[in-house]
Amino acid sequence: MRSLSASYLTNAFSNRLIPMAGRGRGRGRGQMTFNLEDVGIGRGDSLPPTTFKPSPLFPPMPVQPVPLQTGEEVEYMLALKQELRAATKTLPFYIRRAAPKRDVDRYSDKYQSGEPKDSTIEWSPDWSRLPKELCIKVRENRGKRPTPQVKRTKKPLVGKEEILIKLETLEKKEEAVNSEEEQDEEKKKTNEEEEQADEEDYEEDFEEDTDYIMSYFDNGEEFGGDSDDNMDEATY
């Protein structure tokens, strides 16, 4: 059983489609193969005008919509939704493209590795549950495990002991740097995630293995090149 659609009906009444419009009985509307009264259009009725363009994008609404529900439950779910949205941006599952490489390799690249890279993944999934072809290197953060802790506990000490400890930690750092460079690109243990989480609690100063405080480190890029000319002016 076929069923008719509305557009067929409206087009059928348009004079343009019927070549012999106007001739025969019924001035104003053409002859049709079926009886008009059956469909419900009486003799004297006028039809709405034919449309020449698609319906407007925002048609005027005859009735206003019902107002939204309010209440504690609704408010709570709204707050939950917004919190979830904000939280997902910080999770490692939010994949950002790596920023395009700058023209020259810079010294700070070794120590400022906060940007995500294309070739590493930020979290460590369970590789046994994924096909082997998806295996990708897990990103390792540059913070060293033992060194910041040793620094922390020995902080209140002053004088000779502190200097000795500092020398020790510098030694350890060097070792750690070497051992890291020798590491293979194998899958990491799952506790690395916890280590990464703990690491974020440390102050920024201790994240990289330099003695420089990162916030003070200046690339020298922003320094204008035109002040070289006039050395009489004091530098601020």
Binding site: T33, N35, N191, E194
Partner: protein
């Protein structure tokens, strides 16, 4: 996978996982099963990014992988699941339900598992304990055992389930699926195992987690160190590696459906009858399968015994209520026998159909007015009517009835059916009947709902983008204020910083926040309609 669904999925993926995942996800949704190289080539994305996105999608259950079409030797093919991505819209509702059932602990457990896709039990317990400790006052911390008990309650009532084991790919001799130990290579070609096929699906692993939540403090470092070392030791000693838990959406949907039925009964009849229906549904929670048309028969004696103690109604009154429920035209409860004082069932499928019908009627009423709604309801009940009959039964003058019918027809809510009297289908000798089919109309409305939510999200993104500069400024000022307050500044400095935002800007910000809240709230409420229609359509599919 209709166009509207794909568009909505794309927007949800973009919001939660970024543009890269959105591109890969929509490509998979549109194109069906594809392998890694095809995806990378067709989306012009570097291979590493494709791998990362696929890892994210699989982690969250939105994508499944299986061996290729040409047999075990061909490359792995990935398939995205539209349905799973659309669930993201319902996360707040799941979390709120867990809160009402199991308190803050349950809420945080479900939230963590939802955000991470799937997690081991030990991981979840630790993270939740830490978060709870963070919110508690100084000096107190959360015991792991409390979190473990909340977790086990969630598993017992089937709200959380184990992730299905991954089928071996290629010609592996042993199958990792414990449910089918005897089929080696055949398992590679069968459909991926569902969570339910695993008999251990709801079994808790035997791990003892002892400890307390750790408070994250930036000043107190000694606890951190010990915490850090202890965490390392704990993760090595926990025995539940490889057992991942995911949220069981079907169980939550069952709960929502029950809630909808109970509230419908409460608003149609009264509170006591809704309590009776609630008792009946609670008793048949574990015995009813997901796709059952009605619950297992319950005798009136059992219902009487299981009623909550504060609802002390006598036995004859209970019988009266039950017969009232059976006689009600909504047909929520049916009588299936007379033994044991009368055997009663809850007609789940019919209840869903009636709820969907009520939704359709209310949509027509709100958009076209109550007289059009009257015509719509008439057509739903009387099935096929001629133009003249519609006018007579609806008691609406001919001209207006015609107008309304044509409006409904142009919106596709009403269809025309031809019945020819003669074999040559002459129009003058054919009946034209108006009719409404509930199922196709429900599908149409569901697609409208998806389009609505997609439009809402786009509008919200547009509003945010328009006022990006203002939002960033206000965020910076908030950060400055917070740091000033933390370092103990005077009130003059604080007011000075606050005045950096001018009054008209403040108004603009307020209006923006108001709009965004409204849009978000609307999304949540449209999702309720989506749930009802989806459940109805799903219940009709499985016959």
């Amino acid at each position: 996978m209709t166009a509207q669904e794909v568009r909505l999925c794309g927007l949800l993926l973009q919001e939660h996982f970024g543009e890269v995942v959105e591109r890969i996800g929509t490509h998979l949704l549109r194109g069906g099963a594809q392998n890694l190289r095809t995806i990378a080539n067709e989306t012009n994305t570097p291979l590493d990014l494709v791998k990362k996105s696929l890892c994210v999608l699989v982690q969250h259950g939105a994508c499944e992988f299986g061996s290729g079409r040409r047999g075990p030797g061909s490359p792995v093919e990935y398939r995205a699941s539209c349905e799973r991505v659309l669930r993201v819209l319902r996360y707040p509702r799941y979390i709120y339900t867990a809160k009402t059932l199991y308190g803050d602990t349950g809420e945080l457990i479900v939230e963590e598992v939802l955000q991470r896709g799937h997690m081991t039990m030990s991981n979840t317990v630790k993270t939740v304990a830490d978060r709870l400790t963070h919110n508690m006052e100084e000096g107190r911390s959360m015991e792991y055992s409390e979190v473990v008990s909340a977790f086990s309650k969630l598993v017992e009532t089937h709200f959380l389930q184990r992730c299905p084991p991954v089928a071996e790919m290629g010609t592996a001799a042993t199958s990792t699926n414990p449910a089918t130990p005897g089929t080696p290579a055949a398992s590679a070609s069968t459909a991926p195992p569902t969570a339910e096929s695993n008999p251990d699906c709801y079994k808790l692993p035997h791990v003892t987690l002892i400890g307390r939540g750790k408070r994250r403090r930036s000043s107190d470092d000694s606890e951190e160190q010990r915490g850090g070392k202890k965490a390392k030791m704990d993760s090595e000693s926990c025995g539940d590696e490889g057992i991942y838990w995911q949220v069981n959406f079907e169980r939550f949907h069952q709960h929502f459906r029950d809630q909808a039925i109970i509230s419908a009964v409460a608003s149609k009849l009264d509170q006591t009858s809704s309590e009776i229906v609630r008792t009946m549904l609670r008793m048949s929670e574990v015995t009813t399968t997901q796709t059952a048309a009605y619950t297992q028969p319950l005798s009136a004696n059992e219902i009487f015994r299981s009623l909550p103690p504060n609802y002390s109604i006598s036995r004859p009154i209970l019988d009266q209520y039950l017969s009232l429920l059976v006689d009600d035209p909504m047909e929520f409860v049916g009588k299936s026998g007379d033994s044991g004082g009368g055997m009663y069932v809850v007609n789940l499928q019919r209840a869903l159909a009636n709820l969907a019908r009520a939704t359709l009627e209310s949509v027509v009423q709100e958009r076209f007015g109550s007289r059009s709604a009257r015509i719509f309801r008439l057509l739903l009940r009387k099935r096929h009517l001629e133009q003249k009959q519609v006018e007579d039964f609806a008691m609406i003058p001919a001209k207006e009835a015609k107008d309304m019918l044509y409006t409904l027809l142009s919106e596709n809510l009403v269809q025309l059916q031809e019945i020819p009297k003669t074999p040559d289908h002459a129009p003058s000798r054919t009946f034209y009947l108006y009719t409404v089919n509930q199922l196709p109309t429900a599908r149409l409305l569901l697609q409208h709902c998806y389009k609505t939510v997609a439009n809402l999200i786009e509008r919200r993104l547009f509003e945010t983008k328009e006022n990006k500069r203002l939002l960033e400024k206000s965020q910076r000022i908030e950060a400055i204020l917070a740091s000033l307050q933390a370092s103990g500044a005077e009130p003059e400095q604080l007011t000075e910083v606050e005045e950096m935002i001018t009054a008209p800007e403040r108004q603009q910000l307020e209006a923006l926040r108001h709009h965004i809240n409204k849009l978000d709230s609307t999304e949540n409420q449209v999702d309720e309609t989506v749930f009802l229609l989806e459940s109805y359509i799903f219940s009709t599919k499985t016959k």
